[in-house]
Amino acid sequence: MKHLLVTEGMDAATATAILDTAAQLKQTLLGREVKKLPTLRGRTVITMFYESSTRTRVSFEIAGKWMSADVVNVSSSGSSVGKGESLRDTAQTLAAAGADCVIIRHPASGAAHRLAGWLAEAGTSVVNAGDGMHEHPTQALLDAATLRERLGDVDGKRVAIVGDVLHSRVARSNVHLLTTLGADVTLVAPPTLLPAQVERWPVTVSHTLDAELPSLDAVMMLRVQAERMHGGAGPAGPGGNFLPSAREYSIAYGMSERRLELLPEHAVVLHPGPMLRGMEIAAAVADSPRAAITQQVSNGVHVRMAVLYHLLAHEEEAVA
């Protein structure tokens, strides 16, 4: 594997290999005092974050460091990006400085893909850590890893992805990955928060959460991305003209304690974070043992270690 840009089109064997590696890494590090493996000694990993992030950036940094890679963090403020340098020039500068892998988060969909094209000659690997409203493949992989731990398998499980699907790269990456791994995925959202042509996706669509809950194995709550809800003349407040009001959204699509009771006993609640407690998920649900939110974060480190292993710990691939 040279890059990790999308889960769309990733075959089940590749996804399973990464998930297996992540599980072995977790097992290897379990209970260890010194969480350090020499595997990527001497490799340089640069994270470039053009959007704010806590867990993804930290998780990649820890993953790189636990594998003994040298990790350098670049953010858009405080770097030459603030002086108007283009993404291409910044990336080529980082490659020339010796990066073996560049991890990028960018507000523009397709940014990681363009970067991979520009860096092909330098041989630098690119990982998409979230590009606009397009994809966030490592999030989907860590969600799949969490589902495997909680449910035993992803194949044949019923998973609902609930909320702001329109603006969510997490939803897109999960739809592709989870369906490839054999899950039956349902999107639950108000019509204003579903993307155009959603009928072409390999999913079913529902507008009533209560009707879906009793038959689910997992429910994935999405954050309402107010920062992407601009344009149009809507009511003031979070949601713009996509939502009548935050309270109405929360009542119709929020994961409340009452809804938790409608889920089967074994079903698990996921949230990619950051959470808006009281909006899409009630605090009591987020903190209940039925929620796997902190487990998702710790699996994130192992999945990202696995991704770096599959990108960097093998012979150079012949350039096609």
Binding site: D20, Q24, Q27, Y309, H314, E315
Partner: protein, 194 residues
């Protein structure tokens, strides 16, 4: 670590070095040697742990432990130590899948750890295993048991217990077959026409 015997091409010539019966007798002899050399069961002897290196070191460690239990009546804990993440040839090959690591619940601190592998060749797998051990605990001492030593060491490493010494040329391949991972017990020597 031996590559799987089902290579891309059939070997030009395959010779059996050890039969199933030979493998069983060899493991039994190694078990006796372990009991004697480690003074197993003596009050002042350190507790022994057998750590198999995947793939075929793991079932070999289990077999050694079973024979030791037969002969000495002592249950020696076993574990599995995957060394892939510590190898020095990761960037010379396609991506290697990771094996399982399962250490005994008591840990390795102050134990006499006996690493168990099928074939000792360059010594690089054992070098990786020693590095992996360093991260897993602090054994009192480390010893090495291999079913076959085929020579051609590239590092200053030698085995404490050797089932069979086999002089080989570098163009030959030694494969240990075990029923746990293969269809039968045997040790074979393959010669390929290059």
């Amino acid at each position: 670590m031996t590559p799987p015997p089902s290579g891309a091409t059939e070997p030009a010539e395959r010779r059996e070095l050890l039969s199933a019966g030979d493998v069983a007798r060899t493991v039994a002899r190694m078990a006796h040697q372990v009991i004697e050399r480690t003074a197993l069961g003596a009050s002042d002897a350190p507790p022994v742990v057998l750590l198999g290196i995947p793939t075929r070191g793991a079932p070999l460690a289990a077999r050694l432990a079973a024979r030791i239990a037969d002969f000495a009546g002592i249950d020696v804990p076993t574990g599995v130590l995957d060394v892939t993440l510590y190898r020095d040839d990761l960037r010379r090959r396609p991506t290697r899948p990771l094996g399982a690591t399962a250490l005994p619940t008591d840990g390795l601190d102050d134990h006499l750890v006996i690493l168990v592998d099928d074939v000792l060749y360059s010594g690089r797998t054992i070098r990786a295993a020693l590095d992996a051990l360093r991260d897993a605990g602090r054994p009192r001492a480390v010893q090495l048991a291999v079913l076959v030593d085929r020579g051609h060491r590239e590092l200053p490493i030698r085995a404490d217990y050797v089932g069979k010494n086999v002089p080989t040329s570098r163009s030959e391949e030694v494969h240990v077959l075990l029923t746990e991972t293969d269809d039968r017990d045997a040790v074979v020597l393959d010669r390929r026409d290059l």
